[in-house]
Symmetry: C2
Subunit: 336 residues, 2 copies
């Protein structure tokens, strides 16, 4: 068995993760049990959800154990197989870890993929992966936009947000995005086709409320929420009656030792509105349908997307931290 470099968690982050919370360990790979395969991970998906898995808090999956490699979705090739259905060289997608080699049990989320079916095998971590399917099912099934609706996307320049905005435009909606900085805001309008963009930097809550109102005088029918904090509070002050908030993430809170929280929930009562938590796992049985729809739009030139690929497992920590500084342009992926 080859040696295995692994990006391990050695201390739970207290607020913002520090380099010392992690350690690049060299460990041997274990022998395979019958049915298992050894995957040489080639690309790992760096997602905001990983931050939640580092905390010892009740969640939809157990926390990453201290000493264990940090959990991540990867694509890679089979290096060794003790499973008759998998041969060395097969490409697989799975929920593994940021490490060179993972032992995987096929089934469930771990499956073979065809790199020839997509422009780049990394697309299985972006537009055809959890990111793309979160945008697709989150907007359409949780946000439920109707033609003519006004849709606000927060974290709009991110991997999920940029797809959500484009899918909302394809539904005949007016789409506003919130992002950090003039370059990202220009990209929302010019590259992703948003109708308008709001730069949140330097704006307090009252100024955010006013900026959203100016861009959407009839109120918001759908909010696709990635950020939380005062950005969500400001959006809540601009609801149309019957508005739906698809709650995908709260990235502004993940590293906060004392979360700001949300103080304008009363607006849900005023407008008979709702906030609905969104977990892409709920749509696993329909992933094929979503990927087919995204593939069709892509082939027709109706969707664009970006990937930001960082190379080297020794860059895992600074690459991960780009998610929180807003430093990435497009889906953040680590090449191992």
């Amino acid at each position: 068995m080859p040696d295995n470099r692994r990006f391990t968690l050695v201390r739970r982050p207290d607020g913002t993760p520090a380099a010392e919370d992690f350690h690049l360990a060299m460990q041997p790979t274990p022998a395979l049990a019958p049915g298992e395969v050894l995957v040489r991970n080639v690309y790992a998906s760096l997602d905001p959800a990983i931050r939640g898995w580092l905390d010892d808090a009740p969640s939809y999956m157990p926390p990453v154990a201290l000493g264990a490699p940090v959990r991540a979705t990867t694509v890679g090739t089979v290096a060794q197989s003790a499973n008759p259905d998998f041969a060395p060289g097969d490409w697989v997608l799975g929920l593994n870890a940021i490490e060179e080699y993972s032992v995987a049990v096929p089934g469930g989320f771990t499956q073979k993929i065809d790199p020839a079916a997509v422009p780049s095998v990394t697309n299985y971590l972006s537009i055809f992966g959890a990111v793309g399917l979160t945008a697709y099912f989150g907007l359409l099934e949780v946000g439920k936009p109707k033609p003519g609706d006004t849709v606000l996307v927060t974290g709009a320049a991110g991997a999920v947000g940029s797809l959500v905005g484009q899918i909302a435009k394809l539904q005949g909606c007016r789409v506003i995005g919130i992002a950090g900085g003039p370059a990202k805001c220009a990209r929302l309008v010019e590259r992703y086709g948003f109708d308008a963009a709001i730069d949140y930097r330097g704006l307090d809550e009252a100024a955010l409320v006013a900026a959203i109102r100016a861009a959407t005088p009839d109120g918001l029918d759908v909010i696709f929420e990635n950020v939380g904090g005062i950005i969500l509070d400001a959006a809540l002050m601009n609801l149309a009656d019957g508005a739906r908030v698809a709650l995908c993430g709260l990235i502004s809170e993940y590293n906060a030792p004392a979360p700001v929280g949300v103080r304008n929930l009363w607006q849900l009562i005023v407008h008979s509105a709702s906030i609905n938590g969104l977990l892409v796992r709920d749509f696993i049985p329909r992933f094929g349908e979503g990927a087919a729809a995204m593939g069709g739009w892509l082939a027709a030139g109706k969707l664009v997307f970006d990937e930001d690929i960082v190379t080297g497992i020794d860059n895992a920590f600074p690459a991960f931290m780009k998610l929180f500084s807003g430093g990435n342009d497009g889906k953040l992926i680590l090449k191992l």
Copy 2:
């Protein structure tokens, strides 16, 4: 026209309302225009929603103007009529104000009522009024409980909460209530038939989380939320997958100059759960159906309810403040 004592708003409350924010004014009643009626208000409903109407903030109806009487639902008798369908002596229900006489335009929420159809005419402000219909439609249409579900009611000893708990039991649910103090908790179990009660007094958020968990180890399927703040945050840490929060009120926040807010919204993502704002106005076309169902349960001895009637318009301020101190037992009504 008779003189008219009116409980007027003279200053917008800054946080907790003060006696000086109001003034008992003596003003003449205006002459009636064709179609109008003059109502001698006999009972006024004192509701937490009134607190919201005193603020100059965007809401589902305009704020009470400075110098105007405080808006409230009332029942009373027609004193003078310029409307051929209403005769002096007719009983009417309407959204009027805390004042002896209101000029009302029949139609919409203002309607004739039959005092002989109910045990007491005050019931039109409690079980057959907005309170009862909020409990009925809020639980059944927004909370959507299924038999066997676990339902948590906060503010459970209040006018709405005590009915919600009983209706949930009639749906075959296990029902837990949160209330303040041992007397109210005993009443939840002994009088209203809750399965268990939690006294929130003296408990911090962690202790509340633990108390809810101990009472509902499989998690909460439905939360009927009247309170907000750390009580809602503690409930959110105990969600079952797919949980529904029917958001009826946030009374702990209404007088807070700096609201605590809600910091555990991420649990909505973890459990694919939702928070849905509840405004009884959305169910006006179905009020007859709700009142009939409640009347049937009442006649069958399956529901109990309580009214707390305070006498005298000069007691309007201290009576209103009982809503926030938890001093009332049952639906709070002012006899004018």
